[in-house]
């Protein structure tokens, strides 16, 4: 298997190419632009489409069109661009179209800055557009996972006919790591039962209109069933040194890398602490988090690059059995391991 040193953003495009993504429609925005640039470089070499759209609204609608034609298709953006894509994403979800969106989060609100943040959590994980819908959300914490989870996102999107997000941040997107490149997919799923192909056999319709109230309610219920199935079958998370832990830190994406170091450093000082890292944010690893207290966890600290978005879901999952403590930094600041260790020792009175 080939190993390459590459940026996270580049690894996501590798994942897309390997997954058989036929088209990329995007609009530049830091820190996601390298994804568009890498796609512009690689896609045409394989006869695949790269197009720089006029805006994010256009690019997500181009994604809608290509997905409606049964193609594996992707776009990527960051905060302000994701906001603009929400209308189109709602249409993709409402028409049950599989597609992949990479969000390399930056600082907000407004124009904010280009530093790393995790402030798009709510607008992505909760289905940020109008209507009752969810998107599948995967949160890589390494360049390897940028590649692997992008491939998985295509698979899950097709499996459930639903948009899937790779939710990442400027740190993961712009750092480089060694990446083991997986094998390209050998065959793509057959979508001719529903996709529009412009031929005599598949005169299908892609549509999200249900005029009759009961019909629309029934459609919403079918979507809900799908989301329940996703919640049942697609939860992904990682635990590190949790076996005998009394304290747990929870975080996803780049901050989970810092938390791993936090755990190692605190363990050296004899503190029984472990890391719980959600990999899928929708579906959220609810029951795994709910079971932490019964597994002997006495304290939970959620760390995020936002002002309290992930921690809400952690606390919902904990259901009052424990209340998670919270530590968040924003504006492009990533807390260091020693900063978090300081917080832990202050909160829990442990010597680190």
């Amino acid at each position: 298997m080939a190993r390459k040193l590459m940026k996270g953003n580049y690894a996501a495009v590798y994942g897309a190419v390997l997954a058989g993504c036929e088209a990329y429609y995007g609009y530049p925005i830091t820190p996601a632009s390298e994804i568009a640039e890498a796609a512009a470089e690689l896609f045409p070499k394989l006869g695949r489409t790269f197009l720089q759209a006029e805006c994010e609204t256009a690019s997500i609608n181009m994604v809608y069109g290509a997905a409606g034609c049964g193609k594996r298709v992707m776009t990527a953006s960051s905060g302000p661009g994701i906001s603009l894509k929400q209308e189109g994403l709602s249409y993709c979800a409402g028409s049950a179209l599989p597609c992949v969106v990479v969000d390399v989060m930056r600082g907000g609100p407004g124009l904010g800055n280009i530093g790393p943040e995790q402030a798009d959590y709510n607008q992505v994980v909760k289905g940020g557009g109008h209507g009752n819908y969810r998107v599948i959300v995967l949160a890589p914490n390494s360049c390897q996972e940028m590649c692997d989870l992008t491939m998985l996102a295509f698979e899950l999107a097709d499996k459930y006919r639903n948009p899937a997000f790779v939710l990442t941040d400027g740190v993961i997107g712009q750092m480089m790591e060694s990446v083991e490149i997986p094998e390209p997919v050998a065959s793509l799923p057959d979508k001719s039962s529903w996709a529009v192909k412009g031929d005599a056999d598949t005169k299908n319709l892609i549509n999200s209109i249900y005029l009759a109230h009961d019909e629309l309610e029934a459609w919403n219920n079918r979507l809900l069933e799908k989301y329940r199935a996703i919640e049942r079958d697609e939860v992904r998370f990682e635990e590190y040194r949790m076996e005998d832990a009394e304290y747990a830190v929870i975080g996803y994406g780049c901050i989970s890398r810092v938390l791993r170091t936090v755990v190692d450093d605190a363990r050296e000082k004899g503190v029984k602490i472990g890391l719980f890292r959600p990999i899928s944010l929708f579906p959220f690893p609810k029951s795994a988090i709910a079971s932490l207290p019964s597994r002997g966890i006495r304290k939970v600290l959620t760390v995020e690059l936002s002002t309290g978005q992930l921690v809400d879901d952690v606390n919902l999952a904990l259901g009052g059995r424990l209340i998670s403590d919270f530590y968040g930094r924003v504006g492009g600041n990533v807390p260091s391991a020693s900063e978090i260790l300081g917080r832990i020792s202050q909160l829990y009175g442990v010597k680190i």
């Binding site: 088209a23 006029e54 050998a186 529009v196 598949t202 319709l205």
Partner: protein, 477 residues
């Protein structure tokens, strides 16, 4: 009524199965509405041109939102105004198909104004049928960009006032200022003669589409009796008496004869070709044995800092690449924050056998400081027992830490001696190798051709690595 219709044109479904309610035979359009007439002209053209089976119709948001009830084609219903963006990717996904974007004037000229402009400017191989009825039909008669001066709508109850609401927008003329479009015409549906001209324009536009000759649009002046609050015949007369002078009819552009057909490449999905294109299978071509001597730091974390332009980031990339070739897990993290633009830069590199946690080198085993501010900033965080390599050409103070090994290396000076300040990064890499024993000099040199192109450049960098390496080995002995 039903008996009077002998046969629907072949472009239509016989039965409008997607239409709710009992009546699956007639359209949902108001009596006297232009949409129904234009639909029929399109459906007849699809049949006559024998393209019904390879046409895809994009239904917009507006009264024609239900166009998909009628056309016996592939259909996509899309968000308000976005039809040209969707049509763009649909036509690229199915280059053999005829893709039609059907849009009203609110849809096309207001909310979708930029999308139509950009799709036209790209010369997408799509046909746009643009229904200009000077009003928002579906939402109950609000002002459109095409509403005439003085015209009363529900949102211009005193008449459209150009001073506050602007002027009627002339879409065909606007698009005619672009280079790419192939065919632009404006026609009307207000009498038989003009319906015939519309029929011809519809066919010409579709013909070019079939021939893959790029972007064609027909703007069609169309009656909206319901919202104009006029009868069917009065509405036709109203177009004649009021709209024609603002929106003159005719073919504004016909470049069909001179445009070459567009050929789109076929996407390549064969795994072998994908692997080959991504350069997989052989890595960089060099796989290295780790040096026999035990490195000073088995899993080093490294910080490299200096001015922007001193090659700080690329020095880190070289170390990470070497680590990769020796089979380590490696990470490289560029510095963030305002200092990136302010002229200083730094990066963290980790080279480890196990899983790498935090990728920031917060307690580096090795610091390479290329300028004084960087040394002052990072010297305090070097791990006890670590190594500080500092650029003695530019740094005129001595580090104060006593618990670390300090190596003064004239990095800039050594690079300058080779006649190129740019090779500082390779001097630094050589110094790092000598100081840590992690990389063998020969291995770095073997790797250079995969990092740089051009024999002269490779040779120069080779000298630079050697200079840094030898200098540090000289200090040690």
């Amino acid at each position: 009524m039903k008996g009077a219709v002998l046969r629907k044109p072949g472009g239509f479904n016989d039965i409008y199965k997607h239409k709710p309610g009992a009546d699956k035979d007639r359209t949902h359009y108001c009596p006297g509405c232009g949409h129904g007439i234009l639909h029929k002209l399109i459906a007849e053209a699809l049949e006559d041109l024998e393209i019904t089976d390879r046409t895809i119709v994009i239904s917009p948001v507006g009264c024609s939102v239900f166009a998909y009830y009628y056309f016996n084609t592939g259909n996509l219903q899309v968000p308000h105004g976005r039809a040209p963006a969707v049509a763009t990717s649909v036509s690229r996904a199915n280059p053999g198909s005829v893709v039609i974007s059907y849009q009203g004037d609110g849809d096309l000229a207001a909310i979708g104004g930029n999308h139509i402009l950009q799709a036209a400017n790209r010369g997408e191989n799509i046909t746009v049928f643009f229904v200009n009825n000077a009003i928002y039909g579906m939402t109950g008669g609000q002002m459109a960009p095409t509403t005439l001066e003085g015209m009363k709508t529900t949102t211009t109850p005193y008449g459209r006032n150009p001073a506050t609401d602007g002027y009627p927008m002339k879409v065909a003329e606007m698009l005619n200022s672009l280079y790419a479009p192939t065919f632009i015409a404006r026609t009307s549906l207000h009498d038989i003669a003009n319906i015939r001209k519309t029929r011809a324009a519809v066919r010409k536009a579709l013909q070019y589409n079939m021939e893959k000759k790029g972007f064609s649009i027909v703007e069609v002046l169309s009656m909206c009796p319901s919202n104009w609050k006029l009868g069917a015949v009065e509405s036709q007369n109203w177009i004649r008496d009021h709209m024609l002078e603002v929106y003159p009819l005719g073919t504004l552009r016909d470049r069909g004869a001179e445009v070459a057909p567009r050929v789109r490449p076929r996407p390549e999905l064969d795994p072998a070709r994908v692997r080959e294109t991504l350069g997989l299978g052989e890595g960089s071509g060099v796989k290295l044995e780790r040096p026999k001597e035990t490195p000073v730091y088995p899993n080093p974390s490294v910080r490299i800092a200096g001015f922007g332009g001193q090659g700080v980031l690329s020095a880190g990339v070289v170390l990470a690449n070497l680590g990769l070739e020796y089979g380590y897990n490696v990470s490289w993290l560029p510095s963030y924050g305002p200092e990136m633009r302010g002229g200083t830069a730094n990066c963290s590199v980790k080279i480890q056998d196990g899983t790498i946690g935090d990728t920031e080198a917060t307690k580096p085993h090795v610091l390479i400081a290329l300028n004084r501010p960087s040394m002052e900033k990072f010297e305090p965080i070097v791990a006890s027992g670590g190594t500080l390599i500092y650029n003695s050409t530019l740094i005129d103070v001595t580090p104060s830490r006593k618990d670390i090994r300090v190596l003064a290396v004239p990095i800039t000076g050594l690079a300058d001696e080779l006649g190129n300040t740019k090779v500082q990064s390779m001097v630094a890499a050589g110094a790092f190798a000598a100081a840590t024993g992690l990389f063998a000099l020969d291995d770095i040199i073997r790797l250079l051709p995969s990092l740089y192109s051009g024999e002269a450049i490779v040779k120069l960098n080779e000298k630079a690595v050697k200079a840094g390496f030898d200098f540090v080995r000289g200090i040690k002995s």
